[in-house]
Symmetry: C2
Subunit: 411 residues, 2 copies
Amino acid sequence: MQDFLKKAKASSSVIATLTGAQKRSILEAMADEIASESGTILEANAKDMAYAKEHAISEALQDRLMLDAGRVADIANSLREIAALREPVGRVLDGWVTDAGFRVEKVSVPIGVVGVIYESRPNVTADVGALCFKSGNVAILKGGKEAEHSNRAIAEVLQGVLAQRGLPKEAIALLPDSSREGVASLIKQDKYVDLIVPRGGAALIRYVSQNATVPVVKHDKGLCHTYIDKAADIEKALSVITNAKCRRTGICGAMETLLVDEAVAVEVLPKVREAFATYGTVLRGCEQTRRIIDIAPATKEDWDTEYLDNVLSIRTVEGVAGATAHIAAHSSGHSDAIITENYTTAELFLNTVDSACVYLNTSTQFTDGGQFGFGAEVGISTNKLHARGPMGINELTTYKYKIYGDGHTRA
Amino acid sequence: MQDFLKKAKASSSVIATLTGAQKRSILEAMADEIASESGTILEANAKDMAYAKEHAISEALQDRLMLDAGRVADIANSLREIAALREPVGRVLDGWVTDAGFRVEKVSVPIGVVGVIYESRPNVTADVGALCFKSGNVAILKGGKEAEHSNRAIAEVLQGVLAQRGLPKEAIALLPDSSREGVASLIKQDKYVDLIVPRGGAALIRYVSQNATVPVVKHDKGLCHTYIDKAADIEKALSVITNAKCRRTGICGAMETLLVDEAVAVEVLPKVREAFATYGTVLRGCEQTRRIIDIAPATKEDWDTEYLDNVLSIRTVEGVAGATAHIAAHSSGHSDAIITENYTTAELFLNTVDSACVYLNTSTQFTDGGQFGFGAEVGISTNKLHARGPMGINELTTYKYKIYGDGHTRA
């Protein structure tokens, strides 16, 4: 492991100084190779699928794991899209001349060595490897055991292109020891690894956060709220909340709790029930809600539950202050929304709620790098530091100061 | 402790939403109160000084600990300077309209609850408390035992002003349990604390980095290099390197190792020895250096030693590639410089060296928030993420996305 990490660290200075044109050309070659090695990748995937069937792995997980010619073509296309992204390294973020007269330039630079831990979908191997490469970082990838053969096949294609171009294959590498012990060791190698991004279940994220000495950017749960204010346009509200809950119930940006201003609860709640009836959504309400519409009771636990399912808890609150107080107590800091036509109420909500994304009259399901216009997404950070919310390729860079003087000495 | 941290967390939403005018007025009142309570602060400081003398604490440390009327006035002035800084919260960092047509605004927001661990100088209590307050953060301060009375007196003055304005005194608080156990507990309270900044000895920083579950921004050692290239202007070189080493030898931006291009070593090294002779600097050299000038030998350990003293290690290297290779192996990633008149060599060095600050023809002692024009300094980060290099008040903020739609739903 030490030996592998030393090589990874050493290759980071090679990757960091490639030009944008070199990286684009290499990523395009990777896309071509993925397409032409489609057969090999599908053979490897068939082994993973056989393993999954033998071990009675769930249909949902099998669907995420499965590759076919179309999905391999999608992987290649995704590499081409990443190749085409604007060069993330060397952007001048700020610059000025100091009182002493020397010039300071704050420029974006790669982070260094980035470890990503993820599950199931083999396309993540290509996507994350390519995003790290495009941003000048070395990628250490640790996929799930269930996708082992597929991930290896994909990584070997990418490494083949690196080798052809005379670059170290450690620049996009699978973690050699993919056991639990391998991960335990990786997250403590702060001498060699600059960032760990855990993308996966709550247990994994908790484990990594509690034990890593390497900085961690978490992709944690999303317990998202929408608050319907007394000044809301009801038609907009119904359209936004059904989208926020039902478009896809299993994503982290899905709404889990609806808050309704008690001033309009009698008018709004029956319409809410009617709107969600179309989607078969299970509704659970607080006491006051249940005095207006006859739905199942919400328990105390409901306010802290990320259902990731077609279930919604509903609570009435005393105006925007009641909404922000509930959100402060229960939100995961991912995405929270207000529906209102009132300017002052809107700004009060947006400024008070301490979440990565705060929405006015918009579905929380928009929290997504693609929807934000970032292109391919590294993840959605629930950290407050370094990166917050959707992470695009620029969030895989940090900065340094370049200082240009002419013999300047400090007095 | 839990109870204290709950109050601190709760007060963060109050502090985060104060206006710039309110914060400025409060900080000015704090400056006035520090000045008018000068007597009380000096009495408290006398207790700390008596303790220091009893326990035979070093003269240097006693000097850092000691307050007099002038130093208390400096504390008040520093608070006025912080009051006058440009409002760091609510800066619009980026903004755009997405394909779907809703507007995204990326704005700076406070981090939340910031814990700072520091030593000796009582003025840090006021400075860091005020910087956190100005940036909308709650400050939890843990000073050294030797400054206990002075720190408490200063904190009580600041808290008195908070109380007068009806604000929670936990917004600028000393850690109630200042023992080793208190620190051990603080750095694991990720539910309540958003950032820990350890400013102190290497042992403290290592301990915090290895054990914290709260994100840490380190203010770690500075093992800084200057490389004299064959295309250097020798007069500029001599002026810059003596400043980088000797202006103050005990600061983290002081040069510890001088690298000299072997192509000009015979010409340059005698002049280097002569220049440093004026300052009484102890020189230690590699073998090749010692064949040219007769100085003590440098051992392998010298290349990894932060002397913080009037000692300099000198090594000849094979051009800029030799310099960047030495720096990659031995630098602490703080500040490294090249002296050259050659454009291509300069850019190669600045782009290759992976340090927070990379200097061309400039003394590394400029790595400082004040010199960079940031005003008061929180510290100098040796992290790669969140903040890197000199940390001003803006580095005490993070960001969030405010999204303005008009009933937008995701397809």
